[in-house]
Symmetry: C2
Subunit: 146 residues, 2 copies
């Protein structure tokens, strides 16, 4: 995570700074989307400090570099685990435990573009989030309902 981020930053001509690495580290540990202010609090607990403006700017850059994604409906950011694979990156979100699963699927993209094409809409990218229960939470629900 960190290593890859450093590489990407470097390769794209962006400086490798402490704030950037700190945010990357937080995202790497987080198991669910985190907001800029949440990141600030988490750093604070480590005795570190970053201005919230800096965090906003870092997150913006990380998204630009596809190292992170913004999940608007969750009001938070999450690290990208797919790399620069083709197609759009999609998410499954467990609304019980908050866990996120990132995935990509070309067929799905083609489907959506096809439907759009039928009414003359030219798709450039997709935002796609599935909400439900992850396998472990689903099992928990079943157990609870006995």
């Amino acid at each position: 995570m960190i290593r890859n981020s450093i590489q990407v930053l470097h390769a794209q001509g962006y400086k490798v700074t402490r704030p950037r690495l700190q945010v990357v580290e937080i995202l790497g540990k987080a198991q669910k989307p985190v907001s800029p202010y949440e990141i600030q609090k988490m750093l604070k607990q480590q005795g570190r400090y970053l201005n919230h403006v800096t965090i906003y700017r870092v997150l913006e850059l990380l998204c630009h570099l596809n190292l992170a994604h913004k999940l608007p409906s969750e009001k938070g950011f999450i690290k990208c685990i797919l790399g620069n694979r083709e197609g759009c990156h999609r998410f499954m979100i467990c609304h019980k435990c908050g866990a996120i699963q990132e995935y990509a699927d070309d067929k799905l993209c083609r489907n959506e573009k096809e439907i759009a094409g039928e009414i003359g809409f030219h798709t450039q990218y997709h935002v796609s989030e599935s909400y439900g229960l992850c396998s472990s939470c689903y099992k928990g629900e079943l157990a609870g309902n006995v």
Copy 2:
């Protein structure tokens, strides 16, 4: 739009109030997502006034009744044009003119659920937004590039 909203409010045991009708009216006219504060401004221009808290509450209700949708990535609300059709309601968003096209597609939902199922994720609903150019903006782009 208004008539249908009145019916739904009534049928569900919610009062038909002036604030609710005013917000419905604004959503009906808007050609793109509008935020609560934008709605307040638009009403102001008509010489009307609603407290922003009221607008928040009305929008929450309208979404609950499927008369409107929140578009998180656009930070705004839009009226629903599909009614209570089965499946999730999806959107195509032109990032040039801001126009929105709502649609639904069962096949797409099945596809997504299928993919989720493969990793044990149990989907309950989808958030889906396609970004690109609507047909008229696309034509405009082509013309401009000559």
